[in-house]
Structure formats: C-alpha cells, structure tokens
Amino acid sequence: MSLYLRLKVKDLLTNVELLGWSIGFMEFWVAMWIFVFSGSQAVGEWGVYVVKIDVALAYSFLGLLSISTAAIGLTYSIFHMSRAARYIVKFTKIGPLRLVMEDFLGSLTAILVYAAVIFSSVIGLSYLKWRVLALPENPLGVLIDLILAGVSYYWLSYTLALLVLVSGRTRALTMTSYLPLIIGFLAYSQLWVDLGDLIYVAPLCALPALLTYHGTGAIPPTGSYLAWLTGTTTLRAVNLRLAAISTFAWIAVFIAASLALMRRSRGVPLEEIRL
C-alpha cells in the first residue's frame, strides 16, 4: 500500500467532522430505529422473520444515509486538494491515473468502514433488544451492494466537486456538496413513499432494493417499505435486474462526467478556498 493511499485512509478515518456525521449522528438514528421506532417483541417464527426484515431495512437505509453523509466530506476533500492534485500529477511519481485510483480506493475503504460500523451496530443493538442474530441472508450480496453504494457516491462526489471547480462557482460548494445527502434522503423516503418506476430513473434510488433483497432474501417492493413490513398494503415487486442496471448506469454516468470535467479542471487557488 502506498503512502498516499495510507494517508488518504487515515485522513478520512480521523476526520472528526466526517466521523461525527457519518457515524456519530447515524448511530443516534440506529438506536432510535431499534429501540423507539420498532416493535418491542419477536414472538414466534413470524415475529423473528419480521425482526430480520426490520433489521435488514435498518442497515440498508441507515447504511446508505451514512455513506451519503460521508459523500459530503468527500466532495469537500476533492475540492480542497484540487490545486495540489494538479501539481502532484505533474511533478511527482504519482501520475493522473494512479492518483485517481488511489484516491478512489482510499475513499472507498473509508466509506466501507463507515458502512461496516453502522451494519455492526444495527446487528448488535437488534440482538441486544430481541436476542435475534439478524445476519443477512446473502452476506456477499450485501457487501457487493455496499461497495456499489460506495463507488456510486464516491463518483457522485467527484463529479460535484469538479463541477464546482470547472464552473468557477466556488461559493456554490456548500450547497452542491449536500446533493449526495439529498439523493440519500430521496432513497430513504422509500420507507414511506412508493416511487414506482421512478426508482429505476432517479439517481441511486435502486440501491435500497438491492440491499434489502440480499439482506432478507425476499424481493422487496418499489417503495413503501414500512407498509411492506407490516403487510398492510399490496405492493408491486421491484425488478431487481432493472434495479442493478440503473445503479451501474448511474455509476457510469458519474465516472464519465468526472473524467470529462477532470480534463477541464486546473484546481482552485488557495485564496478561493476560504469561502
């Protein structure tokens, strides 16, 4: 592992603000989900099954929110290092491709650590409450989905940071950096709202369906997950193939946009960083 990569991971895992929002703040909602919003008992086989679905929804939706919160920090870090990045790729042994790859790998590692913390705490707290070890039906599938989420949010952050740089609208950074969180909450709204076919079109809204499927083994609906959990409404099942295609398509869009913008970016001068 190169020193750049190690320091990138260290940077993201020791950043107090990032830790506070992506883990500290989300842990509060994990506790609320398990101890306040969820039912108190897991009686019988059906009760255990419902708890397992509830837990899968918790780590899917809160994990995604945590990743989208981390994406705000990523947008800032990409923006702030932009001028240094230009110098690094020209006059150090780290060329452009290596810088992008190492930055991506370091960020993805940190994002997955955040997601792992949320996942572990959901599993741990749910066991504490219900004495049910609600492990995912398909752990590898959940891991792949979390990686996909990390990849997509990383490239979304990259696109947004470069968009601010190339457009020269550096004062729009604060507003722009919150777009990942807004997108995260759009996905989160599916707990109550059935977006229907929109989940295949809206950015990264198909991720909860993939996570829930691999977590529970059941094909989830296109939305209104809480109604699905309580079984009060008949809902249309999601098309998992389309959900996967949608996620990959958005990742491709973000990467293509980043690469196109990267060619036009020269970084932001120090004096403009102090917004």
Partner: protein, 265 residues
Amino acid sequence: MIDLVELYVRYSRRHEPVVRGVTARLSGKHLLLGPNGAGKTTLFKAICGLVPISSGRVLIDGQDVKSLYGRSKLLAVNLSEVYRVFHLSAYDHLRLFADVMCGDLDLALNIAEDLGLSLELLRRRKPWELSAGQQKAFSTSLALASGAKHVLLDEPFEQLDPARKVRVVRHVEEYRGVLVLSTHETWVLNALSKWSVHFMIEGRVYGPLKAEELAHASLVRGEAEGAILRFKAAGGVYSLVPGACGEPLSKLVTLDRIYEVTLGG
C-alpha cells in the same frame, strides 16, 4: 533549463493579462525581482502548469509543461497551496511529499528545523495552522529537499525574521540545480551577488542582468543615457543606471517603492 516563449497568462477573457509576452531562458541561479503584484507568482504558477496559459509556451528541459505528467525530480515549487492535501499534520504532509517527489525526508526535516519548524510543531499542526512565515518555511523546506532539477522559490523571505532569512540564503546558495527565486526585497542583490537577475514589472520581464551590477545601480526617471535597463512602470519610463546618481536600488528595501519614486516620493 526553463524556457518561456512569448508567454501570456490571463485569469479570464475579460481581464488584462497578468503575464505579458514573457520570453526568457532560466538556467543556473536566478533572481526574479519585482514589486508585489508584478505577476511573479502567476508566472511561477504558469511554469508549474497551475494556471491556464493564454498563449505562448513553457518548456522545461525542452518539454512543454502542458504535456508533463508523473515527472518527479524535474521541478519543485514552494507555493503553499500545492502542499495541502489531507486533513492531517504538517509532518504527514512532509512525509508524503518527500515520498512522492522522491526527495529526502531527513533533509526536509533538517531544513525545516533550521528555519524554525521543530518536529513537534510539525506533528502538532496542520499546514494551514502554521503562521504565514512558518508556512513559507515549510513549503520552502519541501522544495529544497525534493532534489528536483529545477526549483522555484516564490518569496521565500516573506514573513521571516532576519536570522531565518540568512539561513534561507545559505540553503539556496548550497542548492545544486536550476533555482529561480522571486522576491520584492532588494537586499538580496548584495547577498546573492553572483546570481543573474530578471526584473518583472507589470507583467513584463526584463533582463537578464547581473546581481552585483544591480547592487550598485540607481533608479532614475526617464530614458537615461548609459542605462543598464529601461522599463515601463505606472505609465512612465524608468532607467537603471550604474552608480549613485539616483535612488540606489539596493536601498529601496522593497521594489514596491518604485511606485513611490514614480509619484516623486
């Protein structure tokens, strides 16, 4: 060797160029003397490929800077903004850049210590938490420890106390390689008397001249006979003439005073 060919740099189409038609060849040890706002930092940024070049070319060892990538040991600069990557300590940044620039970490730490930056301070503070003078010393240490063939030092004396200025002079004298040092302070003409000098005023570069020659030159208004250099500033023409027949250049302290002279001050 750094070649600048008819170089123009402007930050946007609506603005006047900051660097105006600069043609120069930089090899050996050079001083780039000019008042604040003359375009020295922008010129350095253009040499590093950090600002868009409107027209003209920058060639480093014959290669256009636009097409240079992944070339460690070719060029290093002491601009603070290029040494801020992570939300980590100055020491971590020192380690990082010594590694990626294929430089010497021990040398960087020694120079930093010599310029007043203790290891403990570097471990405790992030680069932007250092004072302005410390930040300059930090980036200068990194540039000088890079072992790069070309080093650009932008105002390395700024915000430094006299004792540390003398240490910087010693380090730049010892450096083996092409070194271009920009400053607005004229005392360096005596301290670095063997160096060649380019003047930069209002985006234009004049020279080369010899530092020892300029150390004894004076600034006069108009086109003086026997002038070693004539340049335009604030809409007028000025001449540098040998001897003490005007405002002695080395006694101006800072080249910002050129504008006071133009105002009759």
